[in-house]
Amino acid sequence: MSKAELKTISLEEIEALAVGAWILGTGGGGSPYLGLLNLRRLYAEGTRVQLMSPLDLDDEDWVAVVSNMGAPLVGQERLADSRNIARAVRMQEEINNIKFRAVMSVEIGGGNGVQALMAAAHLGIPVVDADCMGRAFPEAQMTSVAIGDLRPYPCTLYDPRGIEAVVTKVPSWKWMERASRKICVEMGSIASTSKAPRTGREVKDWGIHFTTTKAIRIGRAVQEANRRHEDPIAALLATEGGKKLFTGKIVDVARRTTEGFLRGTAMVDGSDADRGTKLKLSFQNEWIVAWRDEDAIATSPDLICVLDSVNGHGIGTETIRYGQRVTVVALPAPAVLTSPRGLEFVGPRAFGYDLDFRSLFSPAAAGA
């Protein structure tokens, strides 16, 4: 094992990470707030978490890929407990008889943006500055490692009641999603999971790199603009090369829960420059399509972020409600997601919309 350069993550960076991860959550993934509370307590007790570059991994290292799976709504009642995710990782070590060098989140967006830090705090290993989505997505096959056709199993699931489950073998990522989702729903629609272990080589080839740093950068831009009483959304767009899509007020939200997913639409009534027009947002846990009249003006995998117009913080599909004043922005997607194979997994058709993906951004703008 080579000696890698590690950087201790400060509490201030974790606070910024929580803000940035919530924005990158594109409405889903749950709020990172409870994870942040866990980390504040752990940091107060003296625990520190270290960050390592994916490029510093050895090819044969093992990396644990973690996520808290399930409905964010349930996470608001069954609060994130940092020990649970660490237990899911330990289960992988016991089953495969391996030792993990580091841990990384399956998705940087939403509450999972801090799951790796929570696991790392208990396991005493660093967090890799990378993830498998560069944002949040609702399903297990919507990842760069699935696009890369890497092995999808085994997956461990842990429920604090003491229920432990392993999906030992499946023929595809979609089957992993279906099998693990059934278990997760039985567990009460939330479970701590450790996905198929990845080698260092795989993370270097297929991970979406430096997204922890990116989330911290986004969070800082918003926090600092707020501190200076400047426009946090303008600061975010400038930092990340994003585009403003719409400004207005939420006038209707319709939700339905199917198979553990939250699907529905939200309607925004325009104000300022958008007065007199409406924007419709379709969601499946995350914001998937933005419609102006009948035209889809933005679709997955470009990131559609609904932000509080005043403070620039993200707003979730579960908590959005009538009267909120919002600004809808788009951020460029990581390149692996907009590749032809990537679009099969995360393009509009993967969510049941008969639409071609047209990015709002030039290919050059798409970065990790």
Binding site: L34, L37, N38, R41, A71, L73, V74, Q76, E77, R78, L79, A80, D81, S82, R83, P160, R161, G162, V185, G188, S189, A254, R255, R256, T257, T258, G260, S271, D272, D308, S309, V310, I315, T319, R321, Y322, G323, Q324, R325
Partner: protein
């Protein structure tokens, strides 16, 4: 319909008599340290006006007393917290996100027990009855008098919380129990926080409401007492005693609703300049626009629906400093009428500046005759600049909109402001919050699960139930409007189960008129 509205603010206690929606008389008296003698003063002054010495149907009080207790860390009591839902959530116990100073005042003991529910209504773990009994005995032995109980998914199934209350009632019958499902929605930590805050104010609520009643009785009034809530509706005092947190933001709501009523404008910016602070908000369809999400009270996260307000430290009692010239944020508060120069004191306040500038005529004008013009101009500019900046921050549209200037310190609002089409000042505007209390509406709520109905039909059914409850509580049926609709699908129950919560509100029905069919 004759009602007295009272607003107990940080500086002044205002009282108005409203007959058939019109203000007959209004008075303003200093708030006193004990609160109630100020109310008594105001009521006696109001009743001294012959036109106001009539029999009234109700007295409605809006008070910031309870939220101030939390913010100022005064009169909060030690309580026990019972969390039901283990072994989930163990790393984030009750009080885990509270400011340490407030937590140390309130946290008497924490009990975390197995039980609670899953999101689909199944029990999460069997309820730990033995643990509840043991907790109840410890609470009794420790002499704690108030308990907050919060169980996971209690808004969907409150049975763990009601069982806990029954066990507590058996073992320690004198203890007050706040159940979180009475106060909040999904979101365990925020709902629990609301319950913890509510429990911590129990003794204060009892003594405060008793003192209110005594002041009313002492002034010779015999009428039912109501307290106003955050959403601009009223609760009978008996019920309000159990839920002091529901009145947390009622002051601002009353002021904005009163401003709308007095001006006849339903859509406008509002600035309420009091003695200590100015609150800036926006009226939409006659109601304050609500804050977007989580609201912090004294540093504690809650999910109360509160008006979206910007509060700045500028009011009639604001200190004026000379080097450099600055108005606020410190204030003489309720000591305005003894400490300000025009009232014989020796503290230069914003009121003194306004008197010297000829904006109002109160107190002894000769006592500010020698203030340098340069100081007067600079102080007014500072106050105007603060108002201008913050009113603009709260505006949500680019065009010019009217601004309602109300409150006892409204003279500090200049006659022109950029982005404002006109500044509207109304008679009795200095008592807008008391007017808002007097006209506050009665609400009714339905919160239940519907099956085999479309979303529209389920919401309509919930609205009918809420309307019946509002009418039962004293509302006029033809005045009812839907204030709030929330629906949440519940998976894994047969027949498209949908949980719907609807809140309606309307005017208090005139007891002299036959009830509308």
């Amino acid at each position: 319909m004759k009602r007295i509205g009272i607003d107990v603010g940080g500086t002044n206690t205002d009282a108005v008599l409203i007959v058939d929606e019109k203000v007959v008389h209004s008075v303003k008296r200093p708030t006193t340290a004990d609160v109630t003698s100020g109310i008594l003063d105001a009521l006696r002054a109001l009743r001294a006006e012959p036109a106001a010495a009539v029999k009234v149907d109700a007295v409605v009080i809006g008070t910031t007393h309870f939220i101030n207790a939390v913010v100022q860390r005064r009169h909060v009591q030690k309580i026990a917290a019972i969390r039901i839902g283990m072994p989930a959530s163990a790393s984030l116990p009750p009080f885990c996100d509270w400011p340490t100073d407030l937590a140390s005042l309130v946290n008497g003991d924490i009990f975390m027990l197995e039980g609670g529910h899953d999101y689909d209504g199944r029990p999460f773990m069997p309820l730990d009855i033995a643990g509840l009994k043991s907790a109840a005995r410890k609470i009794k032995d420790a002499g704690l008098r108030s308990v907050a109980v919060c169980s996971s998914f209690s808004p969907l199934d409150p049975s763990c919380e009601t069982t806990a209350r029954e066990i507590l009632a058996e073992i320690c019958p004198d203890v007050a129990v706040t159940m979180s499902h009475d106060l909040g929605r999904i979101g365990l930590l925020e709902r629990e926080n609301a319950a913890l805050l509510n429990a911590s104010l129990h003794d204060l609520a009892i003594t405060t409401v008793a003192a209110f009643r005594k002041a009313i009785a002492d002034s010779g009034i015999d009428a039912p007492l109501f307290l106003t809530q955050n959403d601009g509706t009223v609760m009978q005092a008996e019920i309000a005693t159990a839920f002091p947190v529901m009145s947390f933001a009622s002051g601002a709501t009353n002021s904005m609703r009163g401003a709308a009523h007095l001006s006849g404008l339903d859509d406008a910016m509002v600035v309420d300049v009091g003695g200590t602070t100015s609150d800036i908000g926006q009226l939409r369809h006659g109601f304050p626009r609500e804050a977007n999400a989580v609201v912090e009270v004294g540093g504690v996260r809650t999910l109360f629906r509160m008006p979206d307000l910007l509060s700045i430290g500028l009011g009639g009692g604001s200190h004026v400093d000379e080097e450099p010239v600055r108005v606020g944020p410190l204030s003489v508060g309720y000591r305005l009428t003894s400490d300000a120069l025009v009232f014989g004191g020796d503290r230069l306040t914003a009121t003194d500046i306004a008197v010297a500038a000829g904006l109002i005529d109160i107190g002894d004008r000769s006592r500010v005759a020698n203030l340098p013009k340069r100081l007067i101009d600079a102080a007014l500019r500072d106050a105007w600049r603060k108002l201008e900046e913050d009113i603009d921050r709260m505006k949500t549209e680019a065009g010019d909109v009217p601004l309602l200037a109300v409150g006892g310190g409204a003279f500090l609002v200049p006659d022109r402001l950029p982005g404002i089409s006109e500044i509207v000042r109304v008679p009795h505007g200095d008592c807008a919050n008391a007017v808002g209390a007097a006209i506050a509406q009665v609400s009714g709520e339905a919160d239940q699960v519907f099956r085999d109905l479309s979303r529209e039909d389920a919401i309509a059914a919930a609205r009918d139930i809420a309307a019946d409850r509002a009418v039962q509580a004293g509302a006029a049926r033809d005045s009812l409007k839907t204030v709030d609709v929330e629906d949440m699908p519940i998976a894994y129950l047969p027949g498209n189960a949908l949980r719907v919560r609807v809140r309606v509100a309307g005017a208090i029905a005139d007891p002299d008129l036959p009830a509308a069919a």
